[in-house]
């Protein structure tokens, strides 16, 4: 398995073995980060963020800096030539001379795939609209591996905005490929997973899916709860957002009947869908999840750059 020079646009770009290889390396780095501080010395990460991001951008930057590399790029399309009307293709044609590896976030779905067609260096999708977010998926998977010890035979519930949530889409698509995974999809009727994704999961992977509006009913029976924010920026009008924004709020009290080894995850940022009293619950791992995200991104970039480890 050689990941040298490859792009990561869609989680399906990698086989399960390749994903597992990155997760294992990520955990290795996590446990002994001091052994990896210079593996990317002389390498440059280019960050092309056409849409705001805190965790993804900074975790990528942190990951590269922790490996001894450097970073350049933009975090706001308004401060780059994009504002002047430059095409994605032209931006990439130059950026791939300035950097050894690129990460791109874009509000348009499919933009990173287009960019990868013009890039001579590995390009990573850092999130495209409501479509995919494969490195969040790697973050989620390394968290599951770390706390559940294996990624199989799990009942995984997703709760919140399943229509526009790209982290949800990427993780659903990827977990469907692992053995013995079943899903409980909890959302308001208006925010159910896209039809095309459901079709793909059922046709390609024959996974068991329960779609429901009730969180309470399923909480006692699940192994993982993946909470998501209702994303204001994806709604075309404020009224729809206001109607749905408080649909699900996880509290300590609601968790009373859930499993002792339940794993509570969230891609962050959180607004109010998980109340602060849940943070003290030992089953809540969303901040550890964000931390693990740095290490899995280190593993990913090191693999795509083919550095000696």
């Amino acid at each position: 398995m050689n990941l040298l020079g490859r792009h990561l646009i869609d989680p399906n770009d990698f086989t399960l073995e390749e994903i597992q290889q990155i997760i294992n390396l990520g955990l290795k780095i996590y446990h002994n980060p001091q052994n990896y501080t210079e593996i990317c010395k002389g390498k440059i990460l280019g960050t092309l963020f056409y849409e705001p991001s805190t965790r993804t951008r900074l975790s990528f930057e942190s990951a590269m800096l922790k490996m001894g590399g450097t970073v350049l790029g933009f975090s706001d399309a308004n401060t780059s030539s994009v504002k002047k009307g430059e095409s994605i293709a032209d931006t990439i044609r130059c950026m791939d001379d300035y950097a050894d590896i690129l990460v791109m976030r874009h509000p348009r779905e499919g933009a990173p795939l287009l960019a990868s067609q013009f890039s001579t260096v590995p390009l990573i999708n850092g999130g495209d609209g409501g479509h995919q977010h494969p490195t969040q998926t790697l973050t989620d998977l390394i968290t599951i591996q770390n706390y559940k010890k294996e990624i199989q035979n799990l009942k995984v519930a997703f709760c919140g905005d399943l229509l526009f949530g790209r982290t949800v889409h990427s993780l659903l698509k990827t977990l469907s490929r692992f053995p013995g995974i079943s899903f409980v999809l909890i959302s308001p009727e208006e925010l159910r997973i896209p039809y095309h994704l459901k079709e793909e999961m059922i046709q390609n992977y024959q996974v068991e899916i329960i779609e429901t509006t009730s969180l309470d009913e399923h909480l006692p029976h699940i192994d993982i709860l993946y909470m998501t924010r209702i994303q204001k920026e994806r709604f075309f009008n404020e009224e729809d957002y206001v109607k749905l924004k408080d649909s699900y709020i996880l509290t300590r009290k609601k968790l009373e009947n859930s499993k002792e080894d339940l794993l509570i995850m969230h891609p962050l940022p959180r607004v109010n869908e998980i109340s602060y009293d849940v943070d003290e619950d030992p089953r809540a791992k969303y901040f550890q999840q964000a931390k693990l995200g740095v290490y899995v991104r280190m593993a990913l970039m090191a693999s795509l750059l083919g550095v000696d480890i």
Binding site: P107, E109, G110, L114, H196, E200
Partner: protein, 142 residues
């Protein structure tokens, strides 16, 4: 009774469902050709009652992929020296490029000329195509 002569070389699209001939004429951009083209509408037919027919002279290289999406009943006859040289079957195309646009307004193909979506037929019994960029399904409608 209206009579139209046969063509020596070219393509005859026969058994077009009545009313669809003009749309097909437009979709194939036949108005751009500089050789004779005939569109016959509401011609009597044993099989269909009435039908439309299109005859295109001196062209055999027209991309007819779109026909499978519009009307699977159509018969394609390739004519050479006034004889039917080949009859082609109509299939619903498995992959399509350039015939229609992705319906997703957030898709990169709606704003960037470099991105031309390739669509793959989804095997779900409906004529739905998955966009290569955003994966949204688009149902082809004439």
């Amino acid at each position: 009774m209206l009579k139209v002569a046969g063509i020596e070389n070219g393509i005859v699209l026969d058994h077009i469902t009545s009313g669809k001939g003009l749309k097909i004429f437009e979709k194939l951009n036949l108005d751009k050709l500089n050789t004779p083209v005939v569109l016959l509408m509401n011609v009597s037919s044993k099989r269909l009652g009435t039908k439309d027919i299109i005859k295109i002279q001196d062209h055999l290289d027209i991309d007819l992929t779109v026909l499978g999406l519009i009307d699977p009943n159509i018969t394609i006859n390739l004519i050479e020296n006034s004889i039917i040289k080949e009859k082609k079957d109509i299939n619903i195309p498995k992959r399509i490029k350039g015939l229609f646009k992705c319906k997703n307004p957030r898709c990169i193909t709606s704003v960037d000329d470099y991105a031309e979506a390739e669509f793959t037929l989804v095997p779900n019994g409906k004529i739905q195509y998955r966009c290569s960029y955003c994966e949204e399904l688009t149902e082809y409608k004439l």
